[in-house]
Symmetry: C2
Subunit: 214 residues, 2 copies
DNA sequence: GAATGTGAAAATCTTCACAGCT
DNA sequence: AGCTGTGAAGATTTTCACATTC
């Protein structure tokens, strides 16, 4: 067991395992096999074991993995053992949906404030989250104690917003705007690009020649 | 130039190139270098050339790639040269946001109808899209001429909805519910899992030791 | 007996580096 | 001169297969 830097796909798999473990735990199961995890996440048993042994050796030959133990290890590994305060910038369609999205809470993200530049929105609340003036960003970030920002503004103003965020001292950004953003070294940037997913689906519709499994 | 089956990451890159080409076209550029594409998408020039030559050889040494030509080839390759009729199931927070999302139109997706089981929503319209009773799905799908469905219902009812869709004759599903879905062979399924993105960001916050570039 | 952990092989993906074209 | 296209090398990811452990 040697802790390695995880690839993006590796993190995704761990996240999928984690979800299955949560479900198994709720169902009252105490042990799962690598094969169960594989079937549930559409990977192979060998892949699952390889992924897990990279971080931890708690498998019991003939018996499998202790659900509770493994879950808590992955939880820790994925940083899900803390609550992160987060601000949201851009309260349009997508931003509003995100404010109402329960998954954020479930993933230990606590939205402490939203920011927009639309005077009709500023001062109101959505799902108990106050909407503030983007101009107040810099002055209020510190006391909000948020290290992470979700950007849900149009592509055309995304870079501008990101610059403001960086200047205000944010450390990580989850970007939903379909555009390339430039951030200084040291700032974590993660893009969620629906456009690319749509393109991918388009491609699959055009080229449905993939076999799902062998 | 031999057409190869594209990996998921490969499709993503082509999609990114496509976007840059669109921007370049709007800006009036006629040629781009592999190096331009690389910088814009954060890959390497060699990677770009490798990706492109897999599908087409239109690069001119010393001059680069014809923006218009390359764009239209990628457009075709990605299936973006057609308009797809699509239905949306689940008009909650996320579903409503998607109905208002202009990216769908821009990506040649035409939402022809939405379905829900909430009587308060059925019969209304959002952004000119009529909301219908999910019970009418099977009887109305054919005349809607949609091969693709977007699923934006809670995880707990997603499989049920997918079964209905498959029974009604849908061919492809874009799933936003954070759960594993089972579909018959031949049905294309693409998951957009925000949970996994959030987990990934969490991990990056915890382990900020990655260097962005070499 | 049954499933794990893991070297080693296989497959896949990325980069190098340079011949060849314009 | 400058950039493409591409064999070959290098790196990484995935799978195989089996000795090991419970």
């Amino acid at each position: 067991m040697k802790t390695r830097k995880l690839s993006s796909a590796g993190i995704r798999r761990l996240s999928q395992y984690y979800r299955y473990l949560s479900a198994s735990e709720s169902a009252g199961r105490e042990f799962v096999f690598s094969d169960d995890l594989a079937k549930a996440t559409e990977h192979t048993a060998a892949q699952v074991r390889r992924d897990l042994t990279t971080h931890v050796n708690i498998g019991v030959p003939g018996k499998g993995y202790d659900v509770h133990k493994l879950k808590s290890i992955l939880k820790n590994l994925l940083g899900k053992d803390k609550i992160w305060n987060v601000i949201l910038v851009g309260v349009g369609n997508l931003g509003s949906a995100l404010l109402g999205y329960k998954g954020l809470q479930e993933h230990q993200f606590n939205v402490v404030a939203a920011f927009d530049n639309d005077l009709r929105k500023i001062g109101r609340q959505i799902d108990n989250v106050p909407i503030k003036d983007i101009l107040e960003l810099k002055s209020s970030l510190r006391q909000l104690e948020a290290r992470l920002a979700i950007v849900a503004v149009p592509a055309s103003s995304a870079q501008e917003v990101v610059n403001l965020l960086v200047e205000a001292g944010i450390e990580a950004i989850l970007n939903f705007a379909p555009t390339k953003l430039v951030v200084p070294k040291g700032i974590q940037l993660q893009n969620v690009d629906l456009s690319i997913e749509l393109d991918r689906l388009c491609y699959l519709l055009e080229n449905p020649l993939h076999c799902r499994h062998k």
